[in-house]
Amino acid sequence: MKVLVPVKRVVDANVQVRVASDHSGVDLNNVKMAINPFCEIAVEEAIRLREKGVATEVVVVSAGAKVCQEQLRTALALGADRAILVETDEELQPLAIAKLLKAVSDKEGAELTIFGKQSIDEDNGQTGQMFAALAGLAQGTFASEITIEGDKLKVIRETDTGEQTLTLNMPAVITADLRLNEPRYASLPNIMKAKKKPMDVMTPADLGVEVTTNIKTLKVEPPAERAAGIIVETVEDLVDKLKNVAKVI
């Protein structure tokens, strides 16, 4: 079974981003970039499936500028077998990415595609579901556990009210939630090995996909600032403030 794992290059989760002074977006100059944490969990899950003998090959794919090769190398160092970069400098929105990935998937014939449930930059949470719809496949979003049972996949999903278990026909699409697994760290020898692993580069045109943008960002602003608060000295003082100043209890 071949597993496809799309990965996205994003701002590192520990960086506090600032809005650019011209309000065109956030300032990404000299900011640390990383593989999106949810994509990393997806990569880890695919590698574990291969280690268990369930998967035979793990292919990671990213769409974006040339620099995305860094995150693909990270995924290779974690244990993925090979990488594909769909290279373009155009702005990519979820629908376009889903179309590109669908074209890659048609070529690769993966039986399972594991996405991260959202990327921590745009917080869209769309690409996996869009890909599943375009491919006509079942989806298991927000997965905290997956098991392959014959030609079906059992998935436990984190929901607003608890947990839900579904079975999906394969090929299937999964989007990984935080508690699916805890990703490993890449060892130095594996980082070295990753440099030699194959990386195919292609363009949207090679895949016959026209990249369109449906949604235009008009401006980006900092969020409303909260007024500075105070430190209270005692629990009595806290209760007094909540009753008599804030009037919320």
């Binding site: 701002v11 506090q16 981003v17 809005v19 956030v26 929105q93 979820p94 629908l95 889903a98 921590i120 930059d121 917080d123 869209n124 949470g125 769309q126 690409t127 579901q129 869009m130 375009l134 079942a138 989806q139 979003t141 927000f142 059992k154 984190e158 607003d160 009210t161 608890g162 947990e163 839900q164 278990t165 579904l166 999906l168 026909n169 935080l178 508690r179 943008t213 449906n214 949604i215 235009k216 960002t217 008009l218 980006v220 602003e221 900092p222 969020p223 909260r226 007024a227 608060g229 430190i231 209270v232 629990v235 009595e236 806290l238 209760v239 403030k241 909540l242 804030a246 919320v248 209890i249």
Partner: protein, 309 residues
């Protein structure tokens, strides 16, 4: 043209976030139609029909929609989409799975988790865990949108008199099957709708100690939340996680106990009206967003706080 709102429900009860979504729909303009997809969901349709400002309720009552499986529900919405200029749903687990499928099948983009409507094609949404607010404009003929409940006031749940129309669609894609569900039972108010929320973090040390928060919650009628660290450590259930990748809450009063205040946690609660932080580390970033901070050991402060309520 009119706007279609997908109802969030459990076949018995309409979830309150649906009401906030109706407000967003009204701001976009046009008649508002609510779609109730489920099975044995007649009571939900009745509740939906009473919401002020709703013109029509469509009920797709069929076994194929019992658990609102994304594949089936998305197919249903696509069958209906031609009549609407916008399709909205509360940004909750069901719609987060369903709406991107709808958008892809209609070959349009989706706008996720809007917090404000600027005009019929322009919306505001948080990006980067709420560290930036983007104003975005859609050029699509049908706008597909998930709505963040905290961004919109709820209309009155009573007084409306929408017509209720049963529809016979019954698409079962046959690719996914519901097995079981574990719903965390609680008599407390819904986390996303509660007036007061008290949340515990890693500082709580274990699940047992959440009893301290429960005692406060009992007195304040509060819902109980948690940080990711507390959920990951198994202190409490996943549906209690507040944050960028958990639930977004904006109660009148949010009390953070033993929570450091990582950006990802702040993303889920910093729009609360009043924020209280109880933490023994005066440097904890949570104090930067707190209206009232108490630097103290939670194991002393929380019981003392409760005793004074």
């Amino acid at each position: 043209m009119s706007v279609l709102v997908l109802a969030e429900h459990d076949n018995n009860e309409l979830k309150s976030a649906t009401l906030n979504t109706v407000t967003a729909a009204t701001e976009i303009g046009g008649d508002v139609t609510i779609l109730v997809a489920g099975s044995g969901c007649g009571a939900v349709a009745e509740q939906a029909a009473k919401i002020a400002g709703v013109a029509k309720v469509l009920v797709a009552d069929n076994a194929a929609y019992t658990n609102m499986l994304a594949e089936n529900t998305a197919a249903l919405i696509v069958e209906l989409a031609g009549d609407y200029s916008a399709i909205l749903a509360p940004a909750m687990t069901n719609a987060k799975g369903i709406l991107p499928r709808v958008a892809a099948l209609l070959d349009v983009g989706q706008i996720s988790e809007i917090t404000a409507v600027v005009s019929a094609d322009t919306f505001v949404r948080p990006i980067y865990a709420g560290n930036a607010m983007a104003t975005v404009q859609s050029s699509d003929s049908i706008k597909v949108i998930t709505v963040r409940g905290t961004g919109f006031d709820a209309p009155s749940a009573e007084g409306g008199s929408a017509t209720v129309e049963a529809i016979s669609n019954a698409t079962d894609a046959g690719v996914s099957e519901f097995v079981s569900e574990e719903v965390a039972a609680s008599d407390r108010p819904d986390l996303t709708a509660a007036r007061v929320v008290i949340s515990g973090g890693r500082g709580m040390q274990n699940g047992e100690n959440f009893k301290l928060l429960e005692a406060v919650a009992d007195k304040l009628g509060a819902a109980i939340g948690a940080s990711r660290a507390a959920v990951d450590a198994g202190y409490v259930a996943n549906d209690m996680q507040v944050g960028q990748t958990g639930k977004i809450v904006a109660p009148e009063l949010y009390i953070a106990v033993g929570i450091s205040g990582a950006i990802q946690h702040l993303a889920g609660m910093k729009d609360s009206k009043v924020i209280v932080a109880i933490n023994k580390d005066e440097e904890a970033p949570i104090f930067q967003v707190a209206d009232f901070g108490l630097v103290a050991d939670l194991f002393e402060a929380v019981p003392a706080f409760e005793a004074l309520l």
